[in-house]
């Protein structure tokens, strides 16, 4: 099966991305570094799904460590897959091979994949779904989310995986979350961020226009606003993400598990060769960038300033969301990407992250549906689901 890098159960209904651990099933995170790594325990979300009777169908491919928004950099890509494997989870869902897929939204990759494949994805409020069992990169922003064909299926699976987990120190205290599809959309006020809309391709703009039209027909109001903090959010998130990734991936050193270079003279060479041989270009670039922003003399200007900016951005976006039920933005610049030289990956991914950075850096819930991205205030997943559900009904 070309979408799976590890097929587990033909009767399964849920796919799990390869940065999420399942006990005794290899977990590669799309990296040569973990080609032969088998975890000793399952992620909390997997335990919850299995407890509720869901069967896991298999592990789906991801861009290396989920860093790759464009999905080009997985070590396990197959040229003949023609790109399908890059968005494996979203493709599986769009072809109805699984009911839903769970995956880690680190840098927006599953959001973008959902837009490209015409399915839905929700990234819930940071702290509502346990990250226990995620091969981590940027712990302060990454969050497990759900890909499914429609809002109803997204809601069903999200309700199972969300809730407090003692094993994750950042997990919020509520044991359970109730989600609804039936909030009244007719009285809602939404806004579109000009800075992002204007930069998107016509194809993406058309999706947004259609979505707005559908909402207005329901009686909702949609306004346009300017929010130039989106550019600061892009840069600050790149800095935070890279720094945390540098630190989290430093555990992959060839000493304990994962790839070890066959030839080395001493411990330093073991580290350098193992990491050089096993990490892909984008991962290396991210590590170097992340080391730099944490270095003595740069910390205050880069990392510390980004942390402060995060606070400012959260406050500002929440202020917008006090006047609007949700924000509408393009989830990506365009719906298809021509092949590019992988040595450009860092720049390409950074450019594309302009569209995905706000939910990542703020921890606010976001949903991709009908080719648009919706952002709501903390714990307002039901608003996102209700909007999506009402637009889907229109389409049907």
């Amino acid at each position: 099966m070309k979408y799976y890098i590890n097929e587990i159960n033909k009767n399964g209904t849920i796919a799990v991305d390869d940065t999420i651990l399942i006990k005794d099933i290899p977990a590669t995170a799309g990296s040569k570094m973990l080609e032969n790594f088998t975890p000793l325990f399952s992620a909390e979300v997997v335990e919850r799904l299995e407890k509720e009777g869901y069967e896991i169908s298999g592990k789906t491919n991801v861009g290396e460590f989920g860093l790759d928004l464009l999905g080009e950099t997985t070590y396990f890509a197959d040229a003949e897959d023609n790109g399908a494997i890059k968005n494996a989870a979203a493709t599986l869902v769009s072809e109805s091979k699984v009911k839903a897929a769970i995956g880690v939204d680190l840098n927006g990759a599953p959001r973008r994949a959902a837009a490209v494949s015409g399915v839905s994805f929700i990234k819930p409020t940071y702290g509502t779904v346990s990250r226990y069992g995620v091969i981590a990169c940027a712990c302060s922003g990454e969050q497990i989310g759900v890909t499914a064909a429609d809002a109803q299926s997204v809601k069903d699976v999200l309700a199972v995986i969300a809730g407090h987990d003692d094993k994750d120190g950042t997990s919020l205290p509520d044991e359970k979350y109730e989600y609804s599809l039936t909030e009244d959309v007719s009285s809602m006020k939404l806004c579109v961020i000009n800075e992002l809309y204007d930069k998107a391709s016509d194809e993406v703009k058309a999706k947004i226009d259609a979505y707005i039209k559908a909402l207005e027909e329901k009686g909702a109001t949609v306004e346009r606003i300017s929010l130039d903090l989106v550019f600061a959010a892009q840069t600050a998130w790149q800095i935070l993400l890279s720094a945390e990734t540098t630190n989290n991936l430093s555990r992959f050193d060839g000493v304990k598990y994962g790839y070890r270079t066959p030839q080395y003279k001493n411990i330093d060479e073991l580290y350098v060769k193992s990491r050089t041989e096993a990490f892909g270009f984008l991962t290396k670039a991210t590590i170097i960038y992340g080391s730099d922003v944490l270095a003595k003399g740069k910390y205050e200007a880069c990392y510390d300033k980004s942390l402060r900016l995060r606070r400012v951005i959260i406050d500002k976006v929440k202020e917008v969301l006090s006047s609007y039920n949700a924000i509408i933005t393009p989830p990506c610049s365009k719906l298809s990407f021509e092949k590019y030289d992988l040595s450009d990956a860092f720049k390409k991914v950074y450019d594309e992250s302009l569209y995905t950075a706000i939910p990542s850096i703020t921890g606010l819930p976001a949903m991709v549906n009908g080719g648009v991205q919706l952002i709501a205030d903390s714990f307002k997943e039901s608003t996102l689901l209700s909007i999506a559900h009402s637009v889907e009904k229109k389409e049907a």
Binding site: P39, G169, D253
Partner: protein
């Protein structure tokens, strides 16, 4: 010119928690085999998240109270990155930006030593090198074991002050149940510089890493003082700020490789460990659970009538205090108990090379009661005590088996006296011939026969009576 030493200490102490700092692994204080107290979290496996040990927070706060610190009621954890095989995640979680305790002080020999801060952090693992196969093995039992690092200001002016501080620190930490401070569990980095007496500037500083023996620390400081003063006065070398290590065979310090010291640790806040907020109620709860300090304990013992010097020795060691308090509580007089612990117990401990008073207070109390009531002699008491130390024997059973109980044996003593007289005609004849010293010879023989157990006064009376019959 006269020079004065300027010394600051960073002391790492292992906390007495049941589990590690960020996972529930336990048993690390007495592991049976390498890597038998580890889990995916403290092995640095991907997917694991830290969960902070509340008890470690409380013990660090206690240490702060003990050293008169200000407690940061909002305290955070940070990641310190470096590559070494004994550090499985390639980062150590520590407190760089908001340490849990700051701005304290402690009184040492009448001078105030400032405490800059106390912070919590994880320990690293251990590498074991096998020379025979040229292989290195790694043992993660110690990874993520909670430590506090106590950082003083550069306020020490002599090695004696440093040693007095470390001794006081150790006994106070033991008292408060913060750390067992077992051999090697307290490790110091010593920062040393010298300056002309009266100067307020600081000299060039050396940092001597990872010291644990008090005598080595003293020797290190004295060695560095001479080295620094020679460099300044006689230009033997150019002093540079550097990290050095003590060679305990060559008895001198050497610079460490530059590579080990020039690291940039890239500290940043750990996003997985939520800031710890210690509210007033929690703080008060911890304050209430503080035991008496060594100083308070000394005063308390003096009030019981124990001499100042003895009281201080007792109060300096938690085990001595525990046994003393328990034996006194069972009804023995404080002075008598102090004498038994400080003279008899410590004498036996010295002979057996034991450093900690690990005997049952009930047994010591029983021995003291038997001796005080005259049921056994003090010599017999010491004998039982030795046996308790060596084989943990039962006191009463041991006395019976070894005929130590002098009251029951009065008939036995009389028989021995009679038998000795009957067996030693010549000495008896000497005595009767007027040699009074012969009586002493007979007494000695009887004591030997009784293995020193009889009451001497009783034996003497019986012997005189029998001889004069």
């Amino acid at each position: 010119m006269k020079y004065e030493l300027v010394i600051g200490l960073e002391t790492h102490v292992e906390l007495s928690t049941d589990s590690k700092l960020f996972c529930s692994c336990g048993g690390h204080s007495s592991p049976k085999e390498p890597n038998d107290c580890v889990c995916p979290a403290c092995c640095g496996m991907p997917g694991m998240l830290p969960v902070t040990n509340k008890h470690a927070i409380e013990l660090a706060v206690k240490a702060g109270f003990m050293l008169n610190c200000k407690i940061n009621q909002y305290t955070t954890f940070d990641k310190k990155s470096y590559y070494y095989p004994d550090l499985p995640a390639s980062y150590q979680t520590t407190q760089w930006f908001n340490p849990i305790c700051v701005e304290g002080s402690v009184d040492i020999n009448g001078r105030k030593i400032g405490i800059k801060q106390i912070h919590l952090e994880e320990d690293a693992g251990k590498l074991v090198h096998d020379e025979a196969t040229n292989t290195s093995f790694v043992d993660y039992n110690r990874t993520s074991v909670p430590l506090i690092e106590i950082v003083t200001k550069p306020d020490f002016r002599s090695s004696d002050e440093v040693i007095a501080y470390l001794k006081k620190l150790k006994s106070s930490l033991q008292f408060a149940g913060i750390s067992e401070c077992e051999e090697g569990a307290m490790r110091c980095d010593v920062n040393i510089s010298v300056r002309p007496e009266g100067s307020t500037e600081f000299g060039v500083r050396s940092e001597i890493k990872n010291m644990s023996s008090l005598s080595d620390i003293k020797d290190t400081i004295e060695f560095e003082k001479v080295r620094h003063v020679d460099a300044i006065e006689r230009h033997t070398e150019i002093l540079v700020q550097e990290t050095r290590r003590w060679d305990d065979v060559k008895r001198r310090t050497f610079p460490m490789r530059n590579k080990e010291t020039a690291a940039d640790y890239r500290y940043f806040p750990d996003p997985n460990v939520m800031p710890i907020v210690i509210d007033d109620a929690w703080l008060e709860e911890i304050r209430k659970s503080m035991p008496a300090t060594a100083d308070e304990k000394t005063k308390y013992y003096e009030d019981m009538g124990i001499a100042a010097k003895e009281a201080a020795v007792l109060a300096s060691d938690r085990k001595l205090c525990e046994v003393f308090d328990a034996v006194v509580a069972s009804g023995c007089s404080a002075k008598t108990v102090a004498s038994w612990i400080l003279t008899e117990c410590m004498g036996i401990m010295k002979r057996l090379e034991i450093t900690s008073l690990d005997i049952s207070a009930d047994k010591l109390a029983r021995i003291i009661t038997l001796v005080e009531s005259g049921e056994i002699t003090r010599a017999a008491g010491k004998k039982v005590l030795s046996a308790v130390f060596e084989k943990d024997v039962q006191v009463d059973a041991f006395c019976e088996e070894n005929n130590l109980n002098q009251k029951i044996d009065e008939g036995f003593i009389l028989d021995t006296v009679k038998k000795t007289i009957a067996d030693n005609d010549k000495i008896v004849a000497d005595y009767k011939g007027g040699k009074t010293k012969a009586m002493q010879a007979l007494f000695g023989l009887i004591m030997r026969e009784l293995k020193g157990n009889g009451d001497p006064a009783v034996i003497r009376t019986l012997l005189e009576t029998e001889l004069n019959k």
